[in-house]
């Protein structure tokens, strides 16, 4: 009953976010890249005309946050897709084939788990130069480990079930076993991991942006907005408060969704 409420709340928050991202041009009161306030040159405090204030270039913060939802969601979902692709492939292979393949893949996963994720991502992005492509690639590259572990464990327990063993005994090929029997049964946990993955990639993308390694301007990513706001945090704290709240909202939505389902599975 209550678990349901947590997931429902998460789902509602996520749907709200997607609607904002999708209909950004209709919802945003101003152009996010144009100076619209008369206070050009100085950040403007929140007012009736600009509820979240304006930034140092006279741009409307609310509109930038609404358009930022597009960038942040696109990056988070695309990076999660890459993460899931790597993690699910490695987890399925390790869990299904077992033996030496399992050992090699899981040792590799252990090595990746011992590496400092943010530092590694920073180093990769710096070397590759920040761009949409490089950031997606790097986030995927450093965050697949937990997915691989969970998918491996699920696959392992599935491939010992009677229906898989029977199908194997009847001569089904490995691709058929994986495609017809393993994947459909591992799918629920993959979906949960994907929801949690989106919150992880959102935070990682925001952190990289905050460190100056985000998607290059003028794209208004939430993390970049906070990075740009840090020099004004004494005089114009609203520039950092609102974009951070947007990240917090998005991450919380996906976490509630993911953990809600996870808790229900455990019951």
């Amino acid at each position: 009953m209550v678990r349901l409420r947590i997931e429902t709340l998460g789902a509602a928050m996520v749907i709200g976010l997607l609607v904002i991202a999708l209909f950004a041009p209709l919802l945003a009161p101003h152009d996010p890249t144009r100076a619209v306030a008369a206070t050009y040159g100085d950040p403007g405090a929140p007012s009736l005309a600009f509820p979240m204030g304006t930034d140092q270039l006279g741009r409307d913060v609310l509109s930038r946050i609404i358009f930022g939802a597009r960038i942040s969601m696109t990056v988070a979902i695309a990076a999660t897709a890459i993460t899931m692709l790597i993690g699910v492939a490695i987890g399925l292979a390790a869990g299904f084939f077992g033996g030496a393949i399992d050992l090699a893949l899981m040792r590799f996963t252990d090595v990746m788990l011992s590496l400092p994720v943010l530092l590694l991502a920073m180093a990769f992005v710096t070397v590759l130069r920040p761009s949409l492509g490089s950031i997606l690639f790097v986030i995927g590259l450093v965050s697949w480990t937990s997915v691989a572990r969970v998918v491996r464990a699920e696959t392992l327990s599935m491939s010992r079930r009677d229906f898989v063993v029977a199908s194997n005994a009847l001569g089904a090929s490995a691709p058929r076993l994986i495609g017809r029997h393993i994947v459909p049964n591992v799918a629920p946990i993959i979906i949960v991991m994907a929801a949690l993955g989106v919150s992880g990639t959102l935070l990682l993308e925001a952190a990289l942006s905050f460190l100056g390694l985000g998607i290059p301007p003028p794209a208004p990513s939430w993390g970049r907005m906070i990075e740009e706001a840090t020099i004004y945090f004494r005089t114009a704290p609203w520039l950092a408060i609102f974009p951070g709240f947007a990240i917090f909202y998005a991450v919380l939505g996906f976490n509630l969704l993911g953990y809600g389902f996870l808790a229900r599975r455990e019951q």
């Binding site: 090595v111 530092l119 710096t126 950092a240 917090f248």
Partner: protein
């Protein structure tokens, strides 16, 4: 036990070699020529050639890697390009600031996490339980650098009770430690809650209850003993992770620790320093894993050494 330890140490060594390979590969991809970085853009070809010879850059990659590994084993992680100092010395200099922050933050998060987890489990199914579940997920969902900035604005700017960053005196420790602790506290309370509720369903708890032990007594004496064990592991690994530098928190609060060092290293493409900090971090995590595994076996006699890989 000795055979188990030997196996764990061997595995740790494999992880470290893997890490060094990955960092070496990253370093190799860096477009900047180390000799030019060291000597400056105006250096004549002769100087560059002699620097390359000195650094072993004229040798094949696998020999360069071998040399690097051999030096690293002797505690020599090379010299920073920008700071012209030994990487090991730089890490040693920065370690105390990071260690103070990490130990304070972990203690704080354990305290808060255990309190929240126990209170939630004791009120299972009630409003307080759900409120705490939501709170812990909210804590986990906050971007660290944003939380730090908010605390700076609230505690430093408006209340004026805390310095606006920097390292000096216990007062300067408060905000960064809270920033770092809240996320882990949320996570710990979740884990503890799950373990406690599972433990409370066990037979030995039912037995104790039927013998007249109070709910609180069962919770604190019987269930806690088992539920705390996984938390020890997590906190140990987290501590290792934090000791290797907390880039975001140290950046927000201008904290002179290893995280800032690593951050500067990445921005200056200071390859030896990047490799050094990553390797140091992996070393700490390997050691923490080892210690945690041994403590685990020692604390929980049900785990047989033969079964643990």
């Amino acid at each position: 036990m000795l055979a188990y330890l030997a196996r764990r140490i061997a595995f740790g060594a494999v992880v470290l070699i893997g890490t060094s390979l990955i960092t070496f590969a990253v370093a190799f991809l860096v477009p900047a020529d180390p000799a030019v970085t060291l000597a400056g853009a105006k250096a004549d070809p002769q100087t560059l050639a002699s620097i390359r010879r000195e650094m072993g850059l004229d040798k094949p990659v696998y020999i360069q890697y071998g040399l690097y590994l051999a030096r690293a084993l002797h505690g020599d992680l090379g010299r920073s390009y920008i700071r012209r100092e030994s990487v090991t010395t730089l890490i040693e200099e920065r370690l105390p600031a990071t260690a103070i922050l990490a130990v304070t933050a972990i203690s704080l998060s354990l305290l808060l996490g255990i309190a929240m987890g126990v209170i939630a489990a004791a009120n299972r199914g009630r409003t307080l339980d759900h409120t705490l579940l939501f709170t812990s997920l909210a804590l986990v969902s906050m971007p660290v650098f944003w939380l730090g900035t908010m605390l700076l604005i609230a505690g430093g700017l408006y209340l004026r009770s805390f310095p606006l960053g920097g390292f000096g005196g216990p007062r300067s420790l408060v905000l960064p430690a809270i920033t770092l602790a809240l996320g882990s506290a949320g996570y710990y309370s979740r884990i503890l809650h799950t373990n406690l509720t599972q433990a409370l369903d066990q037979d030995y708890v039912r037995t104790a209850r039927s013998k007249g032990v109070s709910r609180t007594g069962v919770m604190l004496h019987h269930a806690m003993a088992n539920a705390l064990l996984p938390l020890v592991t997590l906190a140990g690994l987290d501590l290792a992770g934090m000791l290797s530098g907390v880039v975001l928190t140290e950046t927000v609060f201008n904290w002179p620790g290893i995280g800032r060092l690593a951050y500067e290293a990445v921005f200056n493409l200071d390859v030896p320093l990047i490799m050094g900090t990553v390797l140091f971090s992996a070393l700490l995590i390997v050691i923490a894993n080892l210690v945690v595994d041994v403590i685990y076996v020692w604390l929980d006699p049900r785990i047989s050494l033969a079964e643990t890989r």
